[in-house]
């Protein structure tokens, strides 16, 4: 039989030192193209994967090009609580949406039951504000991008997650937890902006048990 279930993939990327305005401009423009199969979000994820595969990861906005400096990638899983909440959202109207992207430095292995980042730093990116990221659908995938400014505190970006709440863990839900244990990216305050991009694929896994 076909096995189902959401599958989670995440990329963390450092950008050039002067690229933060272009990065924000790119997502402000992207927000004007809708939230379903958005071509600029597709291009963004394509470039992340290109960089991961040792090619140049480059984007262009208003005839200006900007390039990724460093990338990390990991495959993890959504949390049980996160998927339960997705099921409730599918049935029950007016629940708070997934909105915030957080980043931290803990190397604790991800587990489906976890409900927090263990070394979270700084302020979560609000994906509903175009200059801070985006939350869109691409075919059968939910795609969240968080833009973390150069002013974000210094850390090795080893974990990330999507939340319903802007801070804390006692209220709200965490959708997933991603850990870049063996290949983190480094961030220095007032150096350059970094992004964390998550793709949760809900499609059937087409392998047979």
């Amino acid at each position: 039989m076909l096995k189902y279930g959401p599958k989670d993939t995440c990329w963390a990327a450092n950008w050039g030192e002067k690229d933060e305005p272009l990065l924000k401009k790119y997502f402000i423009k992207s927000a004007t193209l809708g939230r379903e199969n958005n071509p600029m979000v597709t291009e963004f994820f394509d470039q992340l994967e290109r960089k991961w595969n040792d090619h140049i990861g480059i984007l262009e906005i208003s005839s200006e090009k900007f390039e990724m400096a460093e990338i990390a990638k990991t495959d993890d899983i959504p949390t049980i609580q996160g998927l339960q909440y997705c099921c409730r959202q599918i049935i029950v109207p007016n629940l708070p949406p997934w909105r915030y992207h957080g980043a931290g430095s803990s190397t604790i292995e991800p587990r489906a039951y976890q409900q927090r980042l263990y070394g979270e730093a700084g302020t979560r990116a609000d994906m509903t504000i175009a200059g801070q990221g985006s939350l869109t659908r691409s075919n059968q995938s939910l795609r969240g991008v968080g833009i973390f400014p150069a002013s974000f505190p210094t850390l090795s970006v080893r974990e990330s997650a999507i939340f319903t709440n802007s801070s804390g863990y006692t209220a709200g839900i965490m959708l997933n937890r991603q850990v870049f244990a063996s290949n983190p990216i480094g961030h220095t305050v007032n150096g350059s902006a970094f992004t964390v991009a998550t793709d949760i694929n809900f499609a059937s896994v087409t392998t047979w048990e």
Binding site: I77, R88, Q140, F202
Partner: protein
């Protein structure tokens, strides 16, 4: 000898077609209305367990007031890609059109695929509105979505061999398609009632 690994072979989308005697209809309607009004998901799970017990030839009476089906069919099938896309649209808030209608048909010999957008041969009389009081349920429990609908004894004589959950009374998006290619459930007007129960599970894949 080491530990024998018990592989998870549960399907992620399955459905029951359950047939009842006409005299059970008031109790069925009471059960559906109870679920509809109180969101008592335990009753749905007990109903599905009863279906499993009938399927496996076990005594279905497990001390509950839930009517006992005279016959049950089960199938493990597919959530469609357009259905999953609509689920994500609801999750991210670009759509608020939720799953509300149960469609039945007779095209069960055509195998389900993820790209299908409608039943192969929809039954006349339209889809059942699961949101109408006493006609069905739509509940989220854990990582599962439960959908159910009651077909009353006045529905036209028909052999059901496929079903799907929709977000519109006509057209719209089909969430899943379940087919019973070998043996459908023959409903006879003024004689039998039926319950259609559909389950979708979003279990994470490691």
């Amino acid at each position: 000898m080491g530990v024998i690994q018990d592989k998870d072979r549960r399907p992620r989308d399955w459905a029951y077609l359950a047939e009842f005697n006409q005299e059970d209809l008031p109790a069925l309607q009471e059960m559906v209305k109870h679920i509809n009004e109180t969101h008592d998901v335990k009753t749905i799970e007990l109903f599905n367990i009863n279906c499993e017990r009938v399927l496996h030839g076990l005594d279905p009476d497990i001390g509950t007031p839930i009517p006992i089906p005279t016959r049950v069919l089960k199938t493990d099938d597919l959530t469609t890609n357009p259905g999953l896309q609509q689920c994500i649209n609801i999750i991210i808030g670009t759509s608020s059109t939720r799953w509300q209608y149960m469609g039945l048909g007779s095209g069960g010999t055509t195998a389900p695929t993820t790209s299908q957008t409608d039943l192969v041969a929809a039954a006349a009389g339209g889809r059942i509105d699961m949101a109408a009081s006493g006609r069905g349920w739509r509940e989220a429990v854990g990582m599962k979505l439960f959908f159910g609908a009651i077909g009353n004894e006045l529905a036209a004589t028909f052999t059901y061999t496929e079903l799907g959950v929709f977000n519109s009374s006509s057209g719209g998006t089909m969430l899943n398609r379940n087919a019973f290619p070998d043996n459908g459930l023959t409903h006879t007007i003024n004689r039998s009632a039926s319950i259609i129960s559909s389950v979708i599970e979003l279990c994470p894949v490691a």
